[in-house]
Symmetry: C2
Subunit: 567 residues, 2 copies
């Protein structure tokens, strides 16, 4: 490809809207162009790279024995109502009506459709296991699109679905997919952590995320430096510091004028946060829920949402709190009966707690559960934090930020039972098919690969997913010998199966060309110039090498090949 023809313009300056390195570099290198919030066009360089990512994913999926198909994005909303997921996805799913007023969904995922397909094609245990996958455009109406290709509303996803005759089969399919994912990320130069994860609106039992650790990631991963335990903070369970259980003292009202936060309250009363219980108010599908947790801990909203089986969970608004008769800042479960009360087991770790007295500027000392208050539900809703201890080996846990690049789920039989996908087992008994699902964000892999592989000059494309192998720079194209040698080299490289981006511009200075080559970041840069040609040589430099080397014109193809070989 000649740059003079390439529909791409590099930018000299950082675009102000870009928050992450990959977003900034993809805009500057002319890889993507925004069409609407969270909706991008992939310009030719990005698209070549994405096609290579797709091919790597395809090869690994095929090698794991799965079959590619293509399912549609437009689906009858009815199908989503059958499984209850129209409500579960809510505003995150784009919905529309066709010209006859029939409700349609723009599918964010394909469990419903793929289950129906398998239902029509699988009859007996002899037809199982089956893994189906597709590379397809997904639509999700993200509330906060961000970071270029990381959180977008339309994106290419590889989604796979496994169908097995039971849990042992599912375990095997799950392991095969996990291994395929590790292979994909390795080939794309993305070092991932495989972490236990919450399964969210997809539903199901076990679930793991593959995350690229990076400061700009939007997920928090809790890891154990000793035993290797890793889990998304949404899912992680660790052991928080135990508090001694004291002899219960009588409840005692204290005046706490103006003490609205745990920190100020603790300072005023001279107690630790772990000696208090805090109240947090949520709205679960619109209903106010009163949550009690020990003061040094935070609520894990995902665990809470799962415990409440609700579709929407958010902090309650001030007027919702007030209209439920609750006093924000001085609330406790003592005497509260008109709202649902949920508590974390940490309310029993310690005692004689400071709690609100449900009137302004007043608290109680020495509150004890269940002597002084009750809960409708006591269940683990505590957020595991760095410093808590690993549940497996008691080592203090650490936290890192990460970007999710893949997610796998054991679904079990929810979809097959709901949609009627059964098989006959070897005894002739009808059984629901056991399912798993497996997603990789193809466009997010590109962003993650750039996030991981760049320097202050630009992108450092991993060779397997670089849009081209070689960036051929011709200096002084007006010089006929240069033009001739460059075009000849260009043709010879392509003939040898090496993909070349050729900077043939006549109106760009050498510095501009070199900067663009560093910014776009192909693995190998070749420079044809009058000076080099006088030595019958071409300058060759790997994108990450400090030193350039001179290569005889006739040896260039071999030299490039050697550089591109994986080490």
């Amino acid at each position: 490809m000649r740059i003079s023809r390439l529909v791409t313009r590099t930018l000299r300056d950082d675009p102000p809207e870009a928050e992450t390195a990959s977003h900034r570099l993809m805009l500057r290198a002319g890889l993507i162009q925004q069409v609407a919030a969270g909706i991008y066009a992939y310009l030719p360089l990005a698209w070549r790279s994405l096609r290579k990512v797709e091919q790597i994913v395809r090869e690994e999926m095929d090698a794991a024995g799965s079959q590619e198909l293509r399912m549609p994005a437009l689906q009858p909303m009815e199908l989503w109502e059958q499984t209850g997921r129209a409500a579960a996805f809510g505003d995150n799913m784009f919905s529309l009506e066709d010209r006859r007023g029939r409700p349609l969904a723009l599918a964010p995922t394909h469990e419903e459709v793929v289950t129906n397909i398998v239902k029509g094609n699988v009859q007996s245990y002899r037809d199982l296991p089956v893994i189906l996958y597709q590379m397809q455009t997904k639509f999700r109406d993200e509330p906060r699109p961000r970071a270029g290709l990381v959180r977008v509303r339309e994106f290419t996803m590889k989604d796979a679905y496994s169908f097995d005759a039971g849990d042992a089969g599912l375990d095997a399919s799950y392991q095969a997919m996990a291994q395929a994912y590790r292979n994909v990320f390795r080939r794309c130069s993305i070092p991932v952590v495989m972490a236990e994860a919450d399964s969210g609106a997809i539903g199901g039992k076990d679930s793991h995320e593959f995350l690229l650790p990076t400061d700009t990631g939007e997920d928090t991963v809790i890891t154990c430096p000793s035993c290797g335990y890793a889990a998304n903070a949404e899912k992680a369970s660790g052991v928080y510091p135990d508090q001694p259980i004291p002899e219960p003292l009588p409840l005692e009202e204290v005046s706490t004028p103006g003490m609205k936060t745990i920190a100020s309250l603790c300072e005023f009363l001279g107690v630790d946060e772990a000696q208090t219980l805090k109240a947090v108010f949520y709205a679960a599908d619109g209903e106010v829920v009163f949550v009690t947790i020990r003061g040094d801990l935070d609520v894990n909203e995902i665990k809470l949402k799962n415990a409440l089986h609700c579709n929407e969970l958010r902090l309650a608004e001030d007027e919702e709190i007030a209209s439920a008769g609750l006093v924000a800042g001085s609330a406790s479960a003592i005497g509260i009966t008109n709202v649902r009360r949920v508590a974390d087991p940490s309310i029993s770790s310690g005692g004689n707690f400071v709690v609100g007295a449900n009137k302004n500027d007043t608290h109680y000392r020495n509150a004890n559960y269940p002597r002084d208050f009750v809960a409708d539900l006591v269940t683990d809703i505590a957020l595991t934090k760095p410093g808590h201890l690993c549940a497996q080996c008691s080592t203090p846990l650490t936290a890192t930020r990460g970007v999710e690049v893949g997610h796998i789920f054991k679904l079990g039989t929810f979809f097959s039972e709901t949609l009627g996908a059964y098989f006959l087992d070897s005894e002739g008994e009808q059984q629901p098919i056991t399912m798993g699902c497996y997603g990789i964000g193809v466009s997010r892999i590109l962003a993650a690969a750039i996030e991981q592989n760049h320097d202050d000059r630009g992108i450092i494309f991993p060779a397997p997913i670089a849009p081209y192998d070689v960036h051929l720079v011709a200096l002084n194209m007006a010089d006929e010998a240069v033009a001739e040698a460059a075009v000849d080299l260009y043709d010879r490289l392509w003939a040898a199966g090496i993909e070349v981006l050729f900077d043939d511009r006549t109106d760009a200075a050498a510095g501009v060309k070199f900067n663009d080559a560093d910014l776009i970041g192909l693995p190998v840069r070749l420079v044809v110039s009058p000076r080099n040609l006088r030595q019958s040589a071409v300058e060759m430099r790997g994108r990450t090498s400090e030193e350039a080397e001179m290569v005889a014109v006739d040896d260039v193809v071999e030299a490039v090949r050697g550089t591109l070989q994986p080490a």
Copy 2:
């Protein structure tokens, strides 16, 4: 691929809903599964085939010097309002709102977005010409989805857009794309007619369709058997038989009780249809339009719609006709002033016409234009029919039905002027970029290839787009020698780069396997059986050969290769 694992089930009987051969065969062979009206999942066999079609299209587009990119399906509706095409597409375009209530379109085509991309990346005539293309999922809310993959609401399309510095450049890009399209159809074994076409809601000047002639097609192509002229009936212009112009006679009222049709009227009065003028009432964007055309001709609604510059055109309803004070069955333009009157020039070919008298059961003889009635607009709105004469060589034209598989358009500068995509010419003057656009329905190519290539036993896949090259049938897999020989052959063929579908089923009879092989229609069938193995041979048969041949086991790879070579 082993059929025992393949997610596909063939059907023995024709599905009742299938109207065309390709639809019927694609359902029976398990290629597609309907998800909603006009919305299909492509099962693994179809998807392999479609990916090969995509690759052929990609190779021809790349060879023609165009660059692949990927644009999004979700687009701000605002962009479509800027060009006026939100109204032009109307209900044919899916529209929705995001969670913040912002209107979005599911793009049926991409002129708006691609023009904005080029606008941001092209500055000077030196950056032109440029052709961009994508393989992308398109959405169109067709009023009447039909014929399997022929008229659907979600489909894969290759759409390309050319950008040139003027009309001469556009002509060259247009020719290059036309040639690329011919190459694609040849490689997919689809014999096409390239016909002049109307450019519809896409807009623009010249336009051509590529059509596969077939009785089940929904388009009519008018062709000249002598000079090769070909045009979609919507666009075709031919010469209808001239009528002699007689001496005008005085207008004369006649009673025509019960004569509501042209045919009954002609019989009653003893005149030819060409001696009458007929009145047809349309509603153009809701306004009643009175159309007059010679009685032996029909109105070409596309020409009429273009002449009226309206977005929606349909026959007027009875109450609309009545409320405009018109008398259906006895209407003429004589004395009509309260509605818009459009006439075809055929009102002046002939004379002393029989026309309606605008009262029930009454007509006039000897109506003449413009003596007796006037029109607001006289323009060619006649439908060219077989038997009319070729405008170029006066040969009687013929008509065939066809399925459109490609469509190319000269757009001119409408989009670049509307959206501000200009370039600096060699004089430093700002000029709008001249555009063309080019579409191929990838999934429709598959349907057309099957429509063209089948027999009463099933599909006859053209080798370049067959899901697999070879259908390997093992008879009696319980026989260890058969199983071993078949698996060995399967492995050797794949190792030689030959793609094999392996019927390894233990529970299917030989007849079922042979029927499935014919139905799926791969180019070569190989049969491993106890009897064949006794001769150390395998039976080989091309899908269209009457005769099978025995091939020594060791020679099979070579023999298959020879059969797959293009003749």
